[in-house]
Symmetry: C2
Subunit: 212 residues, 2 copies
DNA sequence: GGGCTCGCTAAGCGCCCGCTCACCCTCGGC
DNA sequence: GCCGAGGGTGAGCGGGCGCTTAGCGAGCCC
């Protein structure tokens, strides 16, 4: 293992920034438990148990159970936004940038399915202020993808009638990967990423999408 | 209101088959509560209260809270399967049938978002046997869409490399509508259905999808 | 019109939840 | 060697959960 940011199973660990060690272990345990059972079905005893600690230990590092979800959600959304921003601002045509954005975004959802599931589907379990903060990040996510599509329309690469509707559809397609992807299934995250990049280019009207 | 199957807001009510009246009111209250807060965050007192009854009344008509979810999920999946079957077995080219299937499936998810959200996203809250039964229905849903796409590939209408992957993507796109659709948003279910039918045809390589 | 059934309620049981509190161990500073 | 701070534990509180039970009133049968 080269750095503390990677584990053997290949799932990127954006939790390196979480310290001290016990707080990170609790966060990781919470991610697993929330992904398996959902936020409301997960007990603080379950989280603490997975981290090898007593239930009370959780409250040394986090004020409430909701703070755990909030932290997970924010860090996850920042990572997702970072992935899309990197792809959107790279060199290359809109076609290349859209394909890169979709394939890396999908790889993140498939490879880090545990985290992605919590990040994408437990938003409603947050309180009003926390949810509002996260919704701000989601608007930025939307804006990055819409930006690429607008570039492609302007340059004539894409043929899109409803830019915002298509943006929503592209994001929707990527996000839903976290719901159905199965680590033990027949497809690797890379394969799904490549397939989805192709499908997305077709959606925006790139003629020879299949031949890329 | 012409029949008991329709309400003023236009959302189809597949609950007509649920009797007696009190059982149907409880089921409807449960759908609303599960959609708003999620299964685990909903209490039996909340469901009974929405239906204007005491908490104990619930247990006259349903053995457990989970039975409510199971009933909702089965009826909803049967309705979804029915919609796709009707479109898949209609007269017409694969192109026409796929467009019809997607647009009506999307209209159902958008127009009946409350129900669809519960049906599509609360599956994991069911126990093992109930979940297994519902997964059987989902396989049939998958098979209907895959059937249309295979027809289109055979007839030369579609250009699809990965049939099952594309099927998954099409279904994924439709299902995720239940997550983001907003009844008070700028789009009607019909508009989203039409847009998604177009995007889907592009995904399967129908050349003049935009001009239909 | 007496009695049975059915749909429903008021009250509450037992359990487990999120969270707290009093206390303990370890370790660095002097 | 003593002390304080910080990370940890065992026990448990208050409360709300899913669900049960005893009983009540309206309607139907004969």
């Amino acid at each position: 293992m080269s750095t503390a940011q990677e584990t053997a199973d290949g799932e990127a660990q954006p939790w390196g920034e979480v310290t001290p060690d016990a707080a990170r272990r609790l966060l990781l345990a919470a991610v697993e438990a929330f992904a398996e059972r959902g936020y409301h079905a997960t007990t603080t005893r379950d989280i603490a148990g997975r981290a090898g600690m007593s239930p009370a230990a959780l409250y040394i590092h986090y004020k409430t159970k909701e703070e755990l979800l909030h932290r997970i959600s924010r860090i996850g959304h920042e990572k997702a936004l970072d992935i899309l921003r990197t792809a959107a601002r790279a060199e290359g045509s809109a076609t290349e940038r859209l394909a890169d954005a979709v394939s890396s975004f999908v790889r993140w959802h498939a490879g880090g399915r545990t985290t992605a599931k919590v990040v994408q589907y437990e938003l409603d379990s947050l309180g009003p202020e926390a949810r509002a903060e996260i919704l701000g990040l989601r608007r930025q996510v939307n804006a990055e993808v819409r930006g690429i599509i607008e570039d492609g329309v302007r340059s004539g690469e894409f043929d899109v009638v409803d830019v915002q509707g298509t943006t929503l559809a592209v994001l929707s397609l990527c996000i839903d990967v976290a719901r159905w992807f199965n680590v033990n299934g027949p497809r690797t995250p890379e394969e799904v990423g490549a397939l989805y990049a192709d499908l997305t280019l077709r959606m925006v009207g790139v003629a020879d999408a299949g031949q890329r």
